[in-house]
């Protein structure tokens, strides 16, 4: 029978099926970070059980960590406690831990792929909703809660119901100034913040095929923002090229064998989805959000729509229906997060800002997703370009995406942010987030006001 890519991967991982109940799904890779894992370790310890497959678990602290002076002890006592607890838990249970000083440290969803831990056809979980990122490699990757982290530590399995399947097909070439971030913001604006709930998405079509692996990760990363459990893209030659030669990737004969298996990872022609959506790349412009969920997105040059029920959200944002965001002054720009902190993002930003200076009202943070990305920034001479333009380059971490560390947007201030969520208070109490692509963010930093990158000179 014709199968979707999702079904092929799922079916290969079913250990057991409960009659009238869930499947027991085997998990290949389990990423953990400091915020959603401590209670899970306490849980298994209370039950007196060991971590079942410590070699399949990889840990890194990212949410709480400062992005300056990482060689020093973490100042915030509670943050330090969580980071230290992760360290102790990994030591006690023999788990590979990319600690703050480790050369492989970074945001969990950045380091998995760049180290080759993430490979096509895998099932991947993490106590973090942006685990969907890894779907870019043709994986079933999704976020879980802490009780589920405990389950995976205890058994390397989860009890799961198969979600419904949706295919989103986008065809054609992207317009100038339009990035993968705009594509996913556009899709989410069409579906709304809950439009994908209950579904797992496959992204298909030439637009995604033409994207780099980094760009595909940005798309899959935000699948959760329309409520979908995850999103995946069938692996192709680009995927194999990316995976090859990475630190944890298979090598030699093992790699050849794996590649044979990976060639089966595609949706059969006659496979049926519960929902199919189709878009044209040519109709996608640079996007920005104006409200307090990621579904509230518009083309950068459009006025804020007059939708019912958005009043409270607009009041929070200090915006009015019919107003334009274009040309609106902002004081903060954040380029980072698991959505847009890969080397390709910083290359694009450096290319755009080269020879320019940020506006005097702007505080602009550049936060690399990992130590490896930071090293690439240095090796490629981007630090100088970005620094000359007045951008502050910090050390890897989740930073101002979620205000769990010192990097926060002050009360009432607008921030054009390449992160994934514009929820109330997400970047700091009463902060106002406008989600956008790295290009839009960079151009905004130069002009000191929200800018249409298509007309940036």
């Amino acid at each position: 029978m014709a199968q979707t890519l999702f079904d092929k991967i799922w079916d290969k991982h079913v250990v057991d099926s409960i009659p009238d109940g869930p499947d027991v799904l085997y998990i290949d890779r389990h990423f953990i970070h400091e915020v959603t894992s401590p209670q899970a370790f306490t849980g298994i310890e209370r039950r007196g059980i060991a971590v079942f497959r410590p070699d399949s678990v990889f840990a890194t602290p990212d949410h709480n960590v400062p992005t300056i002076d990482q060689h020093l002890t973490i100042g915030d006592k509670l943050s330090r406690l969580q980071v230290d607890r992760l360290s102790e838990n990994c030591k006690n249970h023999n788990i590979q831990h990319f600690h703050l000083q480790h050369e492989n440290h970074g945001i969990v969803h950045i380091i998995g792929p760049e180290l080759g831990i993430t490979q096509p056809g895998q099932t991947i979980v993490c106590g973090d909703s942006h685990t969907a990122t890894h779907g870019a490699f043709g994986c079933i990757a999704f976020g879980i809660g802490t009780s589920e982290v405990e389950m995976v530590l205890a058994s390397q399995c989860l009890m799961q119901y198969k979600p419904k399947k949706m295919r989103i097909t986008v065809e054609g070439d992207l317009n100038k100034g339009v990035t993968s971030k705009d594509v996913i913001l556009y899709i989410i604006s069409k579906l709304g913040a809950g439009g994908g709930t209950g579904y797992f998405v496959e992204y298909a079509g030439s637009t995604f095929r033409n994207m780099s692996m980094e760009a595909r990760m940005t798309v899959c990363n935000m699948s959760i923002e329309m409520g979908a459990r995850g999103g995946l893209i069938a692996p192709d030659d680009k995927t194999l090229e990316y995976v090859k030669g990475k630190k944890y990737s298979p090598h030699g004969e093992e790699l050849d064998q794996k590649i044979e298996g990976w060639k089966e990872l595609y949706t059969d022609d006659d496979a049926v989805f519960d929902l199919e959506l189709n878009y044209e790349a040519s109709s996608i412009p640079p996007m920005v959000t104006y409200g307090t969920n990621p579904g509230m997105g518009i083309p950068v040059d459009h006025p804020i729509p007059t939708n019912a029920g958005e009043e409270k959200s607009l009041e929070y944002m200090g915006l009015k229906q019919g107003e334009k965001l274009l040309e609106m002054p902002v004081n903060y720009v954040f380029i980072g997060s698991c959505t847009n902190a890969r080397i390709e993002d910083f290359r694009a930003v450096a290319n755009l800002v080269k020879g320019h200076q940020k506006a005097s009202n702007i505080t602009a943070y550049i936060v690399p997703g990992s130590k490896l990305v930071e090293k690439q920034i240095d090796d490629e001479g981007l630090r100088e370009v970005l620094g000359d333009a007045g951008f502050e380059i910090r050390q890897p971490g989740c930073s101002a995406c979620l205000a769990m560390n010192d990097d926060k947007v002050p009360q009432g201030e607008y921030c054009v942010s390449t992160s994934n969520r514009n929820f109330e208070g997400r970047q700091g109490p009463k902060s106002r987030t406008i989600l956008a692509s790295p290009l839009t963010a960079a151009a905004t930093a130069i002009n000191g006001k929200i800018t249409d990158v298509r007309t940036f000179e």
Partner: protein, 193 residues
């Protein structure tokens, strides 16, 4: 996990759609390493002002409302996977959350903590909200065995879905880990394939 059978209680209504888990429990309160105490910061930024004084307009600060049933708006619990959101609601004292639509991860997290997510139609949710808002002493009955939610005064009711496996877990206070650990030999066999 505590067993769940049925509940008769007053309810606390919050007519807000798309309530994300960042609102239920803001990230800066996720720094604890145990599961207790999150109820104090449930809806922190909606509940307290900058001086940490309760905001009069917010429903948790309204003395008229009480009970162990939380009446939420549509698409409740979206965004971050933080189980702390379910812990905060439970720790505050809620045993049931009613909505016409739940985000996936939140729903799983709630079920894994003995907090019953009850999904009803938009119309029935609106009706529950109206009744409770006009008379906060109105009681709601939630019965897991028959999968029915009912307004005690009028008898108006609707049935709700829950999968048989999760229902059994809640009724008996079992969790998935007990089961998973019991089949580790099967997992080992699977790994050899």
């Amino acid at each position: 996990m505590e067993k769940f059978t049925s509940i008769v209680s007053r309810a606390v209504p919050l007519r807000e759609e798309n309530v994300d888990t960042d609102q239920i429990i803001p990230a800066r309160f996720l720094k604890a390493t145990d599961r207790e105490g999150f109820g104090d910061n449930l809806f922190r930024d909606w509940r307290y002002n900058d001086q940490n004084e309760p905001k009069a307009g917010f429903v948790l600060n309204n003395q008229d409302y009480s009970g162990t049933i939380f009446l939420a708006g549509k698409n409740f619990g979206s965004g971050s996977s933080r189980e702390h959101a379910a812990w905060a609601l439970y720790d505050y004292g809620f045993k049931v959350v009613v909505s016409s639509f739940f985000a996936d991860i939140f729903k799983n997290n709630a079920l894994n903590n003995g907090l019953l997510p009850v999904q009803v139609s938009d119309d029935f949710l609106a009706s529950l909200q109206e009744k409770v808002e006009s008379d906060p002493s109105e009681k709601i009955v939630v019965d897991l065995e028959t999968q029915v939610i009912r307004l005690e005064s009028t008898g108006e009711e609707e049935s709700f879905e829950i999968n048989p496996y999760k229902k059994k877990c809640l009724q008996n206070g079992y969790d998935d880990i007990d089961y998973l650990v019991s089949i580790l030999d099967k997992v080992e066999e699977f790994e050899k394939k």
